[in-house]
């Protein structure tokens, strides 16, 4: 029994390391390939002997930032999605179900309507983050009775708040058509056109969110078994739920503020990873981080090549890569 467990542990660790390696390769590919193709030497020189040439500027100001943003946003969304699915006990849950995406969109569009063109991307990031957090806190409050979250109630409160936010946003856009173009840039969801400065704004929050995740990972295992079991084992549900909700808000809120609403990653990656790790969140969460990063980085790279001469929204490419895996995982799963 013991030997079996440590063998499993070894296997999990090996696969995680292999995943991390794959992530590095995909990040390198994302930095080097695009409309202009670079070699490893160019990358080295861009940092060791920067000469201000267009090539070096593209590498340091465009490619490297968007690759890092894609990796971190992908990882955050996937981890947040995994936690949402435990909190609501529903495989259909994702960070957008917490109202995060629609809250962020609503605040950004409202800011654009009221402030005209006065806001730069840097300010919009704050509006988005506040909107995401406000919506999530509202959903959290509506979805709990007493001070404990009720899974199905949380899911429904989230679904309706998300729908409400979306409808308010479309209303604002329809009434004030001028804000549409500015808003659309943000609402499509993309990792390009952002700089490292934008990422630095939210990095502390993402770091805290990931820490929260790992703190509650073991407790989530018990929670996944059902509330009665968790209480029976003397778990402080309230505390675990609060920390988990905070983690979702920090991770998904930051990701959405930087990259706009990217929906599919947070939903699909936890399902893919669960096929490997099972319901052990101590493994599931790091796996999600790595796989989410790989998915978004690869999708971003692919989005430069699907339509020649034109970049397509990264959401299309995540679907192209993710959907076949998702269908395969669903069909292979035995017991459901």
């Amino acid at each position: 029994m013991m030997a079996e467990q440590s063998a499993r542990k070894g296997r999990m660790l090996t696969m995680l390391i292999a995943g991390a390696f794959l992530l590095l390769v995909s990040m390198l590919a994302s930095i080097l390939y695009g409309l202009r193709i670079f070699g490893l030497r160019d990358l080295w020189q861009a940092y060791s002997a920067f000469d201000g040439s267009t090539e070096h500027l593209i590498l340091t100001n465009t490619r490297v930032p968007r690759t890092l943003i894609a990796a971190i946003v992908g990882a955050s969304l996937a981890m947040a999605g995994a936690i949402m699915q435990v909190l609501t006990k529903n495989g259909l849950a994702s960070p957008s179900l917490f109202g995060i995406n629609s809250g962020a969109s609503l605040f950004v569009v409202a800011a654009l309507v009221m402030g005209g063109g006065a806001f730069a991307l840097k300010q919009l990031i704050w509006f988005a983050f506040i909107g995401a957090a406000a919506a999530a806190v509202l959903v959290f409050a509506l979805g709990s009775s007493g001070s404990r979250i009720e899974p199905s109630r949380l899911a429904l409160a989230g679904a309706s708040i998300a729908a409400f936010g979306t409808s308010m946003t479309s209303g604002l856009i329809l009434v004030n058509k001028q804000s549409l173009d500015d808003a659309l840039f943000w609402m499509i969801g993309s990792v390009s056109g952002r700089s490292l400065e934008h990422l630095e704004l939210v990095l502390p929050y993402i770091g805290t969110g990931m820490l929260c995740c790992m703190l509650v990972a073991r407790a989530l295992n018990v929670m996944a078994l059902g509330e009665e079991n968790a209480m029976g084992l003397g778990m402080r549900m309230k505390y675990v739920q609060m920390v988990s909700a905070a983690a979702v808000i920090l991770l998904a809120g930051s990701a959405v503020s930087v990259a706009g609403p990217i929906a599919f990653v947070g939903l699909v990656v936890p399902h893919l990873c669960r096929a490997v790790t099972g319901n052990d969140h101590r493994w599931l969460l790091p796996y999600c981080a790595v796989a989410g990063a790989i998915l978004l980085v690869t999708a971003d790279t692919l989005s430069r090549f699907i339509v020649p001469g034109k970049e397509i929204p990264v959401g299309i490419a995540t679907a192209i890569i993710g959907v076949p895996f998702l269908i395969r995982v669903a069909r292979r799963k035995k017991d459901a």
């Binding site: 529903n90 009775s145 199905s152 409160a157 409808s167 329809l174 699909v268 339509v307 069909r331």
Partner: protein, 335 residues
């Protein structure tokens, strides 16, 4: 117990009456307001005079279409939530809306010179095709709720991606037109839409009601249902077929309206309880009310603009839903 049931039945009747009342009021108000007695005369005499023309020629088809579409979407959602045993299920999850959207957008971008009147049929075909694709891919010695949901999400995401891809490679003016369609609108609905819609609804909603007993049994869990003699796969197939068809024709006429299919069933669950016998008709009435109100708001609030009803479905429905959620705080609202 008996008393509670009588009360719940009364609520269903009340909801249906409320839907009719809202419809009646919708006929009277608009850019030209027609007093209620004149509305009644127009309905009885089949549209004499100018105000009669407005009522029976323009408003009545739109109001009837709103009721039929709202009711269809809500029943489709309730059926799906029952079959998939997931409170978050809605026609969107099975790719019905996504499939309809992608086929409509493909039709608009790839073909030229074909009449716009084909759009409803294209949408229905797209919805049915995606629904069947999900069903086939989820089939492995039967379909299971888990596989249906996960594969449904995959397919509808893929459909969404294809829609965006077609949009950005097509001409720019189409984007606005398509956005209008994907929000869901009843603008320009005339009698020909109604005559296309009502036979389906008149056939499918009664058939859906026949599923009620089966859904009640399945709510007890798969083993129990089989133990009670339920033919699980067969009844799942029919419930899914009715649901996808209802949502398909609704989306065909009114575009990709979200919200009603997901949340109308939950609203009435808080009022009439969990038995599908009452839940299905109550959902139909609630769906009709929500869409009537949303369409009314779209016509009235920003005159002379006619805002798509889809913008207001959540706006009309959410406050009421949250009130129910809040009221039920102690009782616990189960999916």
């Amino acid at each position: 117990m008996l008393n509670a049931k009588r009360k719940q039945t009364a609520i269903v009747v009340l909801l249906v009456l409320l839907a009719l009342a809202v419809a009646f009021i919708s006929l009277s108000i608009g850019s030209v307001s027609v007093p209620l007695p004149e509305v009644l005369t127009a309905l009885l005499t089949n549209g004499g005079g100018e105000s009669g023309m407005i009522v029976t020629g323009f408003r009545l088809p739109r109001v009837i279409a709103a009721m039929l579409v709202g009711a269809s979407l809500a029943v489709a959602g309730a059926l799906l939530q029952g079959v998939l045993r997931n409170p978050l299920a809605s026609p969107d999850v099975l790719g019905v809306t996504g499939g309809a959207s992608v086929s409509v957008v493909a039709f608009m971008t790839l073909t030229t010179g074909l009449s716009i009147h084909w759009v409803p049929f294209i949408a229905v075909a797209g919805a049915m095709a995606t629904g069947s694709l999900v069903y086939i891919l989820a089939w492995r010695k039967g379909v299971s709720p888990y596989r249906m949901i996960i594969i449904g999400i995959g397919i509808s995401t893929a459909a969404g991606a294809m829609t965006t891809l077609l949009l950005i490679s097509g001409p720019a003016y189409l984007a606005a037109q398509v956005l209008n369609w994907t929000t869901g609108s009843l603008y320009g609905t005339n009698w020909s839409y109604v005559s296309m819609l009502w036979p389906w609804v008149a056939l499918l909603i009664p058939l859906s009601l026949l599923c009620a007993r089966e859904l009640n049994v399945q709510a007890l869990g798969e083993e129990t249902a089989v133990g009670l003699g339920s033919r699980l796969q067969l009844s799942r197939f029919f419930a899914l077929l009715f649901s996808v068809s209802l949502a398909g024709v609704a989306v065909g006429v009114a575009g990709a309206l979200s919200f009603i299919g997901l949340l109308a069933p939950h609203m009435v669950r808080a009022l009439v309880g969990h038995s599908y016998r009452l839940l299905l008709p109550a959902s139909a009435a609630a769906g009709a009310i929500i869409l009537l109100l949303a369409d009314l708001a779209g016509r009235m609030l920003f005159q002379p603009l006619d805002i798509p009803a889809g913008v207001f479905t959540a706006g009309v429905g959410t406050p009421f839903f949250l009130y129910l959620l809040f009221r039920k705080r102690r009782g616990g609202l189960r999916g």
